[in-house]
């Protein structure tokens, strides 16, 4: 029995090392490797973005090294440090916070490695390029669409994003800017927090209890919108309270097709990832790139959702 225990103990001590050994990939060292650090590895938006990055990098003959952070800022800094130590040639990052992960940008800059922000941006002076959406304009477009749909009057609820992230502040700024032009539209409910379906559901339930005659719900992203949609359906308000989303992830597009979400804005994450790699490639070649590059966005509603879904269907990888 003692022998078994000793063996088991030795096994436990060797486990961490053997996990490393077992997982070590065999690869050529001479390829260009770029590093990628995204806020979440279980969110459809970032999964799509990573897919685009991998696809475009593959076409260029590059390797991709990813580190995960799961919305933990310190972990994102640590991961970028690991990428720098690994000797990657460039880094694509979607920073969790505009200020909180500046140390990651400093680490890249200290090693003279270009660091390109995708989607969310940073205040760091060491951010090489920001591949962004025109957030304020997207907010304006959503508001304009909603105001048209409502005929310029009614009560509106806003489910904002995490308050620290400038993306969601900018979206809301554009939205409010347009809504201010419509005196008969009132914003009666506002909440900020994580971008989850669960929160979208709960907040919408509350908003509907407080305002049974709610006409529209602005959701800062599609996950929130999908949650809001569930609450609207459960309250039998479908068709009377419209929900708008943002991002254009597949489940939201299907909901637009079924008429449960009124509109969303497509920010094709796959194309975003590809654009990020292209921007980095241009920069590494030594060509000039503007510090801010905008990705195109498309408003999707019942009029064009079929088209978009059809376009997405064929290349199933």
């Amino acid at each position: 029995m003692l022998k078994f225990r000793t063996l088991a103990l030795v096994g436990a001590m060797l486990l961490p090392a053997s996990l490393l050994l077992a997982s070590a990939p065999v690869r050529a060292e001479d390829k260009i490797t770029i590093g990628v650090s995204l806020p979440q590895d279980d969110n459809p938006f970032y999964i799509g973005m990573l897919k685009g990055i991998r696809a475009r990098a593959g076409e260029l003959g590059w390797d991709v090294a990813t580190v995960s952070s799961n919305e933990d800022k310190l972990k994102q800094i640590n991961g970028v440090q690991d990428l720098v130590a690994k000797g990657v040639k460039g880094i694509l990052i979607s920073p969790i916070d505009a200020v909180g992960v500046n140390a990651a940008y400093d680490a890249a800059a200290a090693a003279k490695i270009p660091i390109v922000s995708l989607a969310r941006g940073s205040t760091s002076p060491n951010q090489t390029i920001h591949v962004a959406m025109d957030e304020v304009q997207v907010g304006r477009d959503i508001a304009e669409w909603t105001a048209n749909k409502l005929g310029g009057k009614g009560k509106v609820a806003m489910l904002l994003g995490p308050s620290g992230a400038p993306t969601f502040r900018n979206l809301a700024q554009g939205y409010n800017e347009v809504m201010a032009k419509y005196p008969d539209i009132q914003i009666v409910f506002k909440s900020d927090g994580p971008l989850t379906r669960e929160r979208g559901l709960k907040n919408t339930e509350d908003a509907l209890v407080a305002n049974p005659d709610l006409k529209a719900i602005y959701a800062a992203n599609d996950d929130l919108a999908l949650g809001a949609m569930q609450a609207v359906l459960a309250a039998n308000r479908n068709g009377q309270t419209i929900v708008t989303g943002m991002n254009g992830v597949p489940p939201a597009l299907r909901a637009v097709k079924e008429g449960n979400i009124a509109m969303t804005v497509e920010l094709n994450p796959v194309l975003w990832g590809r654009l990020g790699v292209d921007v980095l490639a241009t920069f590494l070649k030594g060509d000039k790139v503007e510090p801010r590059v905008f990705i195109k966005h498309v408003v999707i509603d019942s009029s064009n959702v079929e088209e978009v879904l059809a376009k997405m269907a064929p290349p199933k990888s």
Binding site: L2, R5, A8, L9, G11, A12, M13, L14, L15, P16, A17, S18, L19, L20, L21, S23, A24, P25, D41, D63, A65, T66, V67, S68, E71, D72, K73, L74, I77, N78, G79, Q81, D82, L83, V84, A85, K86, G87, D97, V99, G100, V101, N102, A103, D106, A111, P162, S163, G164, D192, G193
Partner: protein, 316 residues
């Protein structure tokens, strides 16, 4: 007691955490030459620093026979309070306020666990949620960095070095020395081990066990406060969402370091080794480009193995 019994034998199982760490480092170094680069080694020290401080506090509580799930929320609270106080009254006041906030949470935990005798798991689960709520209330959910950011000297503390070593690394190094002396050389330290090992016996031999237990929570809270201030410097802001799940990493590190969740056993420096094992494993997996989903599996497996090893050891 245990030390006496095994003193005449080579007590290699007592060094299990260190052996694990060394084997892990050797394996990683063999797999990638980048591991031993000076840059990566400094990275590992900096990456371990904040968790090392939290794990030391957790060691106090676990040695005393308790448990503290609230440290992650406390880290966020201290970071945000430090940031807010700093913007108004200067760096020194900010640092003091941050650490004091942690100590206050620890004091409250200590009262509830030691005086009201609430199960520590439930008591600190409650304070974990409560404190996180307070953080959101005082910050309004937004990061604390003021109009022009936190004072630059404070931000420098999060990245600058003195004698070639980051300030962030000096903090746990100095704390480890001072707290080890407290825990191993003073009567207070002996009372903590006695209380955690056998509460009844400690009580019968005249130890004020309630007060000792409460004190371990205050240490844990204050050290989480120190970690919160360090994290605020690292993140250049007080972050209300910071520190989520840190309690689990800290507890795992302490168990990896050979502490017993039954109380009465545990060593500060071994808990720090436990932190190093977690950080080096993550660092190695990143350097080797292992998929993040598999990284979770690996980290989980290591924690289970450590807990199992703890049980096997204690039956020897």
């Amino acid at each position: 007691m245990k030390a006496e019994k095994t003193a005449h034998r080579v007590n290699w199982t007592g060094q299990a955490p260190l052996i694990t760490l060394i084997v892990l480092c050797v394996a990683t170094a063999l797999l990638t030459s980048r591991f031993l680069s000076p840059l990566n080694l400094t990275n590992i020290l900096v990456q371990s620093s904040i968790m090392a401080v939290i794990a030391m506090g957790m060691t106090f509580v676990i040695v005393g026979g308790g448990f503290d799930l609230s440290v992650g929320s406390t880290v966020a609270l201290s970071g945000c309070i430090a940031g807010m106080a700093m913007l108004k009254f200067g760096i020194f006041a900010g640092v003091v306020a941050g650490i004091a906030a942690g100590a206050v949470v620890g004091f409250a935990n200590g009262l509830v666990v030691a005086m009201l005798r609430v199960n520590p798991f439930i008591a600190t689960l409650g304070s974990m949620v409560l404190v996180r709520g307070v953080v959101y209330i005082i910050t309004g959910g937004a990061p604390v960095s003021g109009e022009d950011g936190l004072p630059s000297a404070f931000i420098a503390f999060g990245s600058a070095r003195v004698f070639g070593i980051h300030y962030l690394v000096w903090v746990p190094a100095l704390l480890l020395g001072a707290l080890s002396a407290l825990l191993y050389l003073t009567p207070y330290g002996r009372r903590v081990y006695a209380t955690g090992g056998n509460k009844e016996a400690a009580y019968l031999s005249g130890v004020n066990v309630q007060r000792v237990i409460a004190s371990t929570y205050i240490w844990c809270g204050a050290l989480a406060g120190v970690a919160g201030v360090m994290l605020a410097a690292r993140l250049q802001s007080g972050q209300p969402t910071a520190g989520e799940f840190y309690e689990l990493t800290a507890i795992a590190a302490v168990v990896l370091g050979g502490a017993s969740l039954q109380g009465g056993e545990g060593t500060l420096y071994k808990s720090v080794i436990g932190v190093f094992i977690m950080i080096v494993l993550g660092n190695g997996l990143n350097l080797l480009n292992v998929d993040s989903y598999w990284q979770r599996v690996a980290v989980g497996a290591v924690i289970v193995a450590a807990a199992a090893a703890d049980r096997l050891r204690s039956r020897n």
